[in-house]
């Protein structure tokens, strides 16, 4: 696609000094943005302008800028990671926007993801869920040892697909219930499909689900919004797996 220049765009961005202060929307204008620029490059340009004008730059999370770390969570024009499926914000490009358009940028909205500043939210709730059971306690040995344990290709594939979750939180942001079910389901499915993870599968499902409730995430209504917005294409079939693990764990108890 040939490069074009967006002569003018408007940005309506959520500004919030810190976790305690009340936030508000502010509007900024940017000129001459290349359609080849990534969304985050556009944000960098905006911040350069703001700094020159003596205005506090917009705080937003980012790290790898290649779709693998999951930090760049922005809610753009009503969608997690903006107007495209299966990508992170850093993979979004300005060619998805039109000249003169107003782009509304908000932080992830969930009781369990409080705003730290502007567009940055505190996603440590995910770490706490992970610490509640998203691991295996046995010593799995070296790669050589691991290779002696055979895994059928289907289980390996299912586990690998689920393991691609990067903990970005788009599932929570997109869900009408701010539910963390897809995230938890990805972790549970990943480990429950591997021989090393099987012995603790039931305990894991119970503990992670319990933590998810305690931290104030909502329940699942099976709308499928998470699956569409997930940059790693985690399927909601993993949620069926989580439900199955959780129910059978409760039957066993």
């Amino acid at each position: 696609m040939a490069e074009k220049i967006l002569r003018k765009i408007k940005l309506k961005i959520w500004r919030q000094e810190n976790a305690q202060s009340k936030g508000y929307f502010d509007t900024y204008e940017l000129e001459n943005i290349s359609t080849d620029a990534s969304f985050l490059e556009m944000m960098d340009l905006l911040n350069e302008h703001l700094i020159m004008e003596g205005i506090d730059p917009v705080a937003f999370d980012h790290d790898c800028r290649e779709g693998i770390c999951g930090s760049c969570g922005l809610f753009i024009n009503g969608r997690a990671h903006g107007p495209d499926n299966d990508i992170t914000t850093c993979q979004l490009h300005m060619r998805k926007f039109r000249e003169g358009a107003t782009i509304v940028i908000e932080p992830w909205r969930a009781k369990s993801f409080p705003v730290i500043k502007d567009l940055m939210v505190d996603r440590s709730a995910f770490d706490i869920i992970q610490q509640a059971g998203g691991f295996i306690t046995i010593n799995t040995g070296s790669a050589v040892v691991a290779n002696t344990i055979l895994i059928d290709p289907k289980s390996a594939e299912t586990a690998m697909d689920a393991a691609s979750c990067i903990g970005c939180g788009a599932c929570v942001a997109a869900c009408k219930n701010s539910s963390a079910m897809l995230f938890v389901a990805a972790k549970v499915t990943h480990l429950a499909n591997l021989p090393q993870g099987k012995p603790e599968a039931k305990k894991r499902a119970i503990q992670m689900a319990k933590k998810m409730d305690e931290l104030g995430f909502g329940g699942c209504s099976n709308t499928g919004a998470c699956e569409v917005e997930c940059p790693k294409n985690i399927s909601i079939s993993t949620i069926a797996t989580l439900n199955r693990e959780y129910l059978s764990a409760n039957v066993d108890q």
């Binding site: 998810m212 909601i236 069926a240």
Partner: protein, 226 residues
């Protein structure tokens, strides 16, 4: 067990199981109702209705059905309130049309419409049959309540009841286009291979339910103009 029923997955499990039970009930209910169209004297329907009123098995299932409805309705509100609380600050701009269906996001509102219909429906028939005065009729030498005249009378004399019953069937159908598959997903009986199949079966089921329940008021509506 108390931990299970207070967990998000546990509560949703109750929605699913009660939903399954209600979906089974709808099939039985529809089969009996379609007997209204079997003959113009209403004898077939009256016999079936009489059988349902006097059958001891139905006596056991009736309170179970009431519990099924109560569980489904109570938990639908409990779940919805928890879910609303999980996002205290709403998005300024939200575009969920791009990632999910309106029905899947608004099951509670369709449910409330069904609940309103249900209240009207219970007053129209169940209440009258149970506590009111119903004309009686001789069918095959047995005296029984003339349920057919109760139903046909309502549908022939008041056109707006026909409309309300068709609307009820439509709301129920919309609820089920999402609910049928969703109930399987909730109890873990779903995967990438079965999802499209279950959704397909759900659409067939919904067409049977909505179509079947609508045919009855449509039939009487046409009859009232003949």
């Amino acid at each position: 067990m108390s931990g299970f029923l207070s967990s998000a997955i546990g509560k949703k499990f109750l929605m699913s199981i009660s939903g399954f039970f209600l979906m089974l009930f709808l099939i039985v209910h529809l089969i009996i109702n379609l007997l209204l169209l079997a003959d113009t004297t209403g004898a077939t329907f009256n016999i079936a209705a009489h059988f349902m009123r006097t059958n001891p098995l139905v006596k056991i299932i009736e309170p179970l059905l009431a519990i099924g409805f109560l569980v489904h309705i109570c938990y639908s509100f409990i779940i919805s309130i928890t879910n609303w609380r999980a996002r205290p600050i709403k998005y300024e701009v939200n575009n969920p049309r791009e990632n999910s269906t309106w029905i899947s996001r608004n099951m509670i509102y369709l449910g409330i419409l069904i609940l309103l219909f249900l209240i009207m429906h219970v007053i129209n028939f169940f209440w009258k049959l149970r506590f009111g005065e119903i004309p009686e009729i001789m069918v095959n030498g047995e005296l029984m309540e003339n349920t057919y005249s109760l139903v046909s009378g309502l549908f022939i004399n008041y056109w707006w009841y026909d409309v309300l019953y068709i609307l009820g069937a439509i709301f129920l159908g919309l609820h089920l286009t999402h609910g049928f598959w969703s109930a399987f997903q909730t109890i873990g009986l779903d995967n990438t291979r079965w999802k499209p199949r279950l959704k397909g079966i759900g659409i067939v089921y919904t067409i049977i339910i909505t179509g079947g329940f609508s045919i009855i008021p449509i039939y009487f509506l046409i009859k009232s103009y003949l």
